[in-house]
């Protein structure tokens, strides 16, 4: 089982590298997950996206798509890719402590 160490405490991850237990999420955990994704500093804009992701997940049980993020979070697509390079939906979900988005088949 993979773990992430935050302030000396091990936190369990699932097979996709996302938090195994959503309840383990704190802002410090988010910062640590962000570092793992190569984002060293979480700006207020990052937080706006992260909090939006969390509130959608809370209500609907799945993370929102990029299209929904740009439509409802007030951050345009270009900026989203600058904030979370290489796949904002996947990366922001991870940092927000959510499981890998289910996506579609």
């Amino acid at each position: 089982m993979e773990t992430l160490s935050v302030a000396g405490k091990p936190i369990e991850l699932d097979s996709d590298g996302h938090l195994a237990h959503r309840a383990d999420w704190t802002e410090n955990v988010a910062r640590e997950l962000a570092v793992q994704e190569g984002i060293s500093d979480l700006t207020p804009q990052h937080w706006a996206v992260i909090n939006f992701m969390r509130s959608v997940f809370e209500k609907e049980g799945d993370a929102p798509s990029i299209r929904r993020l740009t439509k409802e979070s007030g951050v345009d697509t270009k900026t989203l890719y600058q904030l979370f390079p290489k796949g904002p939906a996947k990366r922001a979900a991870k940092i927000a402590g959510l499981p890998k988005p289910k996506g579609c088949i």
């Binding site: 798509s65 990029i66 299209r67 929904r68 439509k71 409802e72 697509t77 270009k78 989203l80 890719y81 390079p85 290489k86 796949g87 289910k102 996506g103 579609c104 088949i105």
Partner: protein, 410 residues
Amino acid sequence: MRHMLILGGGTGGTIMANKLASALDERDWRITVVDETEEHYYQPGFLFVPFGTYRMHELVKPRRQYFPGRIKFVLSAIDHIEPENKTVILAGGDALRYDVLIIATGADIHPEQTEGLLDEEWGKSKFDFYTPKGAERLAQFFKTWQGGKLVLSVTEMPIKCPVAPLEFLFLADAYFTKRGMRDKVDLRLVTPLSGAFTKPMSSRVLGEFLDRKGISVTPDFDLGRVDSKEKKLVAWDETEVSYDALVSIPTNMGNACIARSSMGNELNFVPTNKETLQAEGLEDVFVIGDATNLPSSKAGSVAHFESEILFQNILEHIEGRPPVAHFDGHANCFIESGFGKGLLIDFNYETEPLPGEFPLPAVGPFSLLQESPINHYGKMMFRWVYWNLLLRGLELPIEAEMSMAGKRVQ
């Protein structure tokens, strides 16, 4: 007299009209289907048109021919639904009241959603094969094309028939091989997915297939815009892929009437209970086929499996009982792999496509996730099955609920 109103007379709407026509008492129920066109296209056939296997006129039939006599067919565009008034407003302003509503308005491609995709080069160096016109233009283009970089680009998920892009590339490989110019054609799949397909096992198997056929893959590519002058795709992160001929699977969206009714998500798909197939929060509205937001494939086979669940639940509902039948996300797709062969995948919400054998009385077994000629015949036979059994709501020899029989769990 109560009123059963079906919006959309395509695959799902026609199946439901047939099933309900023989189950609902004519003294109690009127049944109406609304659609804006007279022509019913067999969409799975579009895949074969660019390669000259089918001509478009072989894939179309009059919609009305598939409705039983008691069905009233209304030829009109739907403007919007007012669920609070149990009413549907047609484009001309006419209002239709309903007791039970079935939404079967499908999904369509929207190239205008991507910057630079829909311009004067659309139909010249950039094509689609998800519409009759698009598939025909591509057939015309291929006839005299001299070769170069042929890129198949999936804009974003979900799309109808998610294996169609792979099938297109397999068939292109066979087509250009037969024309003796395969060495002049560079085939590439550009996809937002992390591999050839969504689920691990099938993604690996199908990835190996692409590899063996010399088809390259650019994964994790989120298309931001198309530059028609420079002939290149540009991702949101500014990575680029150049093409000579582009075959695009544009963004797929539910019909605009769903947006006008404020009943859809960001892609105009209707939030639907994934088990009962009721529209979320609306007891008397059911949704079938591509119009739903379900995490299942958007495919005719799925609409067929859903129809059995929907049928049971509607009968429960009109008797005043809660819906009991649960959809498991079952999908069953033949994948044409070229040179007279095919693959078959069978899966649901929980079980990814697995290898093995698919037992089918009298005809089978088909081979799962493995190439064989019988799977190709299965695919070609599906056109007959579609017009003669599936649309008429008749039993197919495959259960709505997925079975593990024959599947090998690794």
